[in-house]
């Protein structure tokens, strides 16, 4: 392969990875915006989303991919609601360190539950590998085309939901000021519920896309949580479009970074970027909300 197409292919892979990270980051930043805490168990929504699809595609269901998607995403959404009902709604007013440890506990519980049922080994959906299409000298496989298409669809859906619907308006109001939203008669319970469902479904979709392109393992949640977080930091915490941009940047940086460092450190690049941002703009994420 000539050098120029090599760089272009690397950049394309970066954009593909970035699309997935953007989906993770949008969900993470949404919960942050509405409930003002980082959901440390967000990575487990990513991982369980992928495993729910694995469940419906395997025995005893044996559904084809397209039929297995709706129930898998529905279950991921339910898992998001279950997180809120079982843990977070009881400690809504607790200090953030309590929230943090509880989320950590939830993450450990869910990660090991997946390992309990499916084992620690890396798995794939067992789909046939099809030859990639060649466009302008670049190779694109079917899952990769799906990643781009689905991300565009999701971003469009999130846009419509947030800026064109009443529900989106109430979520944005909540994100600005919870108490004010409540006394102005907004159904905060419904908006919080909706935020959990959207966050979980976005995580599930991203997890499935990632697993389609690579593989799935119970450990995939932790590392992707860090990437999602780095992406939200780049974009400004609580900012949906920032999360999209941040995700793309992290994906690009990771894939282009491999040109300079060993690929075994690819997963560390997001972390390094995160630290650099924090060093350069240390107070960017402090004092954003006044409550």
């Amino acid at each position: 392969m000539d050098p120029i197409s090599y760089y272009l292919q690397t950049a394309l892979n970066g954009v593909l990875a970035g699309c997935v990270y953007a989906l993770f980051a949008m969900g993470l930043t949404l919960i942050y915006g509405v409930l003002n805490f980082v959901n440390f168990a967000h990575g487990e929504l990513i991982m369980w989303g992928a495993y729910f699809l694995f469940l419906f595609m395997g025995e005893p269901f044996g559904l084809p991919l397209y039929a297995a998607l709706p129930p898998a995403l529905a279950l991921t959404g339910c898992l998001g609601i279950a997180m809120d009902f079982s843990v977070f709604r009881h400690i809504r007013r607790a200090n953030r360190l309590t929230l943090l440890i509880a989320a950590m506990g939830l993450s450990v519980f869910l990660r090991n539950a997946a390992q309990f049922f499916w084992g620690a080994e890396v798995r794939t959906y067992g789909l046939e590998v099809t030859a990639g299409m060649r466009i302008l000298g670049l190779t694109l496989t079917t899952p990769q085309i799906a990643i781009i298409a689905v991300t565009i669809l999701c971003v469009a859906a999130v846009y419509v939901l947030f800026f064109k619907s009443r529900l989106g308006k109430s979520m944005r109001a909540l994100s600005d000021n919870l108490d004010l939203a409540r006394i102005s008669g907004i159904d905060t319970k419904r908006a919080i519920l909706a935020a959990w469902v959207i966050s979980a479904v976005l995580a599930g979709i991203g997890g499935i896309l990632l697993a389609l392109d690579t593989n799935l393992s119970p450990e995939m949640g932790v590392i992707n949580l860090i990437k999602a977080f780095a992406a939200t930091l780049i974009g400004g915490v609580g900012n949906l479009w920032g999360a999209l941009l941040g995700g793309l940047l992290i994906g690009l940086a990771e894939n282009l970074g491999v040109l300079f460092v060993s690929p075994s450190y690819k997963d560390g690049i997001a972390f390094v970027i995160m630290v650099i941002i924090l060093l350069a703009r240390p107070y960017v994420i402090i004092g954003e909300r006044s409550d």
């Binding site: 309590t98 450990v108 539950a113 309990f116 930091l233 630290v275 924090l278 402090i286």
Partner: protein, 294 residues
């Protein structure tokens, strides 16, 4: 008998580990989710040095020094963050360190791990029996308890609590909160490394698999369940949880069960963290004068 000695040794090591995290979480309010990294730095430094024939005392001190230095270097950017952000940054550091240990095969042998770490000898005494090792680790645990109790009882410890409870007020009173946090983080890192050194020379084999998020969670649970910000909390937590964790290993179970037992045990740990946070966030032993719910 051997089982009891083994339990006591592991409890002593984890007491040190938990006490070190308690300085950060309990007294300063720093949520270090990468604490295992410093345990690993201690373990690997001392193991690598002693394996190349350098005396244990040097390996021990080098492990503590390197962990302290890494703690210092990490704390400067990380401590500019609060709460959640600090947690993510330290979590990331823990994962990166494991990546380094896994990949720098020339130094750490990567996933193969380091076998044959020598038993320690100090002043001509070799601690190569279980009772001997218990004396060493138990003595170290007592010393850690004494030193850290002294530290947190001193004006320095009161300043830490002041920073934790109200940073702004502490600043107004002329305390440089940032510096206190760095010092607290470095102290925590050094003692975590001490636990790591003792661990490496006890098991005589270490590999990257020993230093995962799982270990961080265990030590976090020990501190939180026992009662963060108290003297005895981490000790009580270590006794209860290590007893639970290690005794399960010695049950004679069919092999197909043991594969499930690990995740099941971790699920219990996760659940305990949640239950304590929802129903009794202050842990078994409550901090004197601490506000309920903290």
């Amino acid at each position: 008998m051997d089982l009891l000695l083994h339990l006591a040794i592991v409890i002593a090591i984890y007491t040190i580990f938990a006490l070190s995290l308690n300085v950060e979480i309990g007294y300063t309010g720093l949520f270090n989710f990468g604490h295992v990294a410093f345990f690993a730095i201690g373990a690997y430094t001392s193991a690598l040095l002693t394996l190349s024939g350098i005396p244990f005392a040097v390996g021990l001190l080098a492990g503590l020094a390197l962990a302290g230095l890494c703690g210092f270097l990490l704390s400067i950017p990380a401590l500019k963050l609060q709460g959640d952000y600090f947690g993510i940054a330290t979590l990331g550091f823990g994962e990166i360190l494991r990546m380094v240990v896994n990949n720098e095969v020339w130094l750490t042998k990567g996933p193969m791990g380091l076998p044959g770490i020598p038993r320690p000898s100090l002043f001509g005494v070799v601690f190569d029996t279980l009772p001997g090792y218990l004396a060493l680790s138990g003595g170290m645990a007592l010393a850690t308890f004494a030193v850290l109790s002294f530290v947190v009882l001193s004006p320095f410890g009161r300043a830490l609590k002041a920073v934790r409870d109200d940073e702004t007020a502490a600043e107004i009173l002329g305390k440089n909160a940032f510096r206190f946090k760095i010092k607290s983080f470095v102290i925590g890192s050094v003692f975590a490394a001490l636990a790591g050194v003792l661990w490496a020379h006890y098991t005589t084999f270490i590999s990257p698999g020993d230093f995962t998020l799982t270990e961080t969670i265990l030590v976090l649970l020990i501190v939180v369940m026992g009662g963060k910000g108290t003297f005895l909390g981490p000790v009580v937590g270590a006794v209860v949880l290590i007893f639970f964790q290690e005794s399960v290993r010695f049950l004679r179970l069919p092999p197909e069960w043991t594969r499930l037992l690990g995740p099941l045990q971790q699920m219990v740990f996760g659940l305990l963290l949640i239950v304590f946070m929802v129903f009794r966030p202050e842990g078994i032993i409550r901090e004197k004068g601490g506000r309920r719910g903290d």
